[in-house]
Subunit: 226 residues, 2 copies
C-alpha cells in the first residue's frame, strides 16, 4: 500500500489524521517545513500506535511519496507551502486541501473567515498546483482534538468537494478508513466556499455549548454516489 503524505502533519489536524490512519494500518509520511520536526512527529506517532509505518520528511520530499497528498497547514501558510511544492507535485497526483480561511490567520476571530479571491482556499490551491494535479477539498469540520484522542469514537460526516468523481472517490476511501467518519459527496470544488465555512460555524457552536461539535447530513440513502 502506498503511503499517505500529510503536509503540515506536525499541526493539530495533520497529527490527528496521522494517528488515526496509523491505527488503521495505513503507512504515512509526515511532512513539515523542517525535516527534523517531521521526524519528531513521526516518532510520536510510532510511539502512540503500535506497528505504525511512519516517516518524516521536509514537505516537498514527503509530497513525492504518495499519490494522494493531504495539505493540513494553516491558511496563513497555504500559499507559501503550495509555492514550494511546485517542483515536487507530479501529474495525476491528488492534493486534498483541508485549509480553512479563518480570520484568525490575520489575528481576527475564529468564528469569521476571510474572503479568498478565488472563492475558497481549495480553489486557490487548484490555481496554484501544477497542471495535471487535481485538488479535492475535505476534512474541514473534523475536530483535531477529537482525532488525536484515540479513545474518542468519531461519529460524523466529512463533506468532500471536487470536480472529478473518481478523485473524490479515492479520497473518500481514505477518509472511510478512519472508523466513525463517513465521507459525503458535497459537490463541485466551488462548493468548498461553503464547506470551508462549516469550521467557523462549528467553532461558534462549540463556544456556546462547550462542545466538540461535528456535522451529519441526514436523509441520505445508503451507499454514497461518487
Amino acid at each position: 500500500m502506498e503511503p499517505i503524505p500529510i503536509l503540515g502533519g506536525t499541526g493539530a489536524l495533520g497529527y490527528g489524521l496521522a494517528l488515526r490512519w496509523a491505527r488503521a494500518g495505513i503507512p504515512l509520511v509526515i511532512g513539515s517545513r523542517e525535516a527534523g520536526r517531521a521526524e519528531e512527529a513521526a516518532g510520536r506517532v510510532a510511539a502512540a500506535v503500535e506497528g505504525a509505518e511512519v516517516e518524516g520528511y521536509e514537505n516537498g520530499e514527503a509530497a513525492a511519496r504518495g499519490p494522494v497528498v493531504f495539505l493540513t497547514v494553516p491558511f496563513r501558510a497555504q500559499s507559501e507551502t503550495l509555492n514550494n511544492l511546485r517542483e515536487h507535485l507530479r501529474e495525476d497526483q491528488i492534493l486534498v486541501d483541508c485549509t480553512v480561511p479563518l480570520a484568525a490567520a490575520v489575528s481576527g476571530k475564529a468564528t469569521r473567515t476571510l474572503g479568498v479571491w478565488q472563492g475558497s482556499a481549495a480553489q486557490q490551491a487548484q490555481e496554484m498546483v501544477p497542471d495535471g494535479v487535481t485538488v479535492v477539498s475535505a476534512l474541514h469540520s473534523v475536530g483535531a482534538p477529537m482525532l488525536a484522542d484515540l479513545d474518542h469514537e468519531m461519529d460524523e460526516d466529512v463533506l468532500v468537494c471536487g470536480d472529478r468523481k473518481a478523485d473524490k472517490a479515492r479520497v473518500a476511501e481514505l477518509i472511510a478508513a478512519i472508523p466513525g467518519l463517513r465521507p459525503v459527496n458535497a459537490g463541485a470544488l466551488e462548493t468548498a466556499r461553503i464547506v470551508e465555512q462549516l469550521t467557523p460555524l462549528l467553532i461558534s457552536i462549540n463556544v456556546r455549548h462547550k462542545a466538540h461539535a461535528g456535522i451529519r447530513i441526514t436523509g441520505l440513502p445508503n451507499g454514497s454516489d461518487w
Copy 2:
C-alpha cells in the same frame, strides 16, 4: 396562545411550517401580498389538519397579529416585503428571517448564493426593520417538501442565529414544537452568513444523492444553552 404570523405563508416553506404548527395545535396567521391568496392557503391548512386555527391576511395585517413573525418569502421579495412592513411591525416583536440569498433569485444556480452587502439576508432584514424589532435567523436548511408531507417524520437540527439569547430561546421553543426538529444555538446574527449557505450546500448534496438532506450537529451535550 398568541398566533404565529407566517409572511409568505403561501410559499413552500411557509406552507409546510403552517401545516406542522397547525398539527401541533398552535394558532396561525398566514400572510401574503394578496389577502385572497392568504385566505385560500389558510383554507388548505384547515382542510389538511383537523381543528387547525388558521386565518389569512395581507402580510402587513398578518404581521400585527403575533409577537414572533416568520418571514418565509423568497429572497427576491425580501426587501420589498420588509419595506411594506415598516408601518406594521411594532417594538419588541421578533422577526424570524428564513430567507436564503440563492443565486436562483437572479436566474442563477440554486447551488450558489448572491453576496449580500450587509453580509447575509438576515443582517439585511435587521437593517430594514423598525427600531426595537429584533431579527432572528432560522429554518434555512429544512426542506419544504418534507415539512409539507405530514407522513414524513422530521429528524434534523435547525440552526438559530441572533444577537439576543432570550429572543433565540423564544424562537427555539416554537421550532421545538414541531416534532423531529431540534433548534441549536449557532451564534450571533452575523453567523447567518454561514447558516444561509447551508441551503445551497444541501441542494448540491440532494442533486448528487437524489435525497432530501438535512443537517445534524453531533457532539452536543443534552439541553441547549440559550
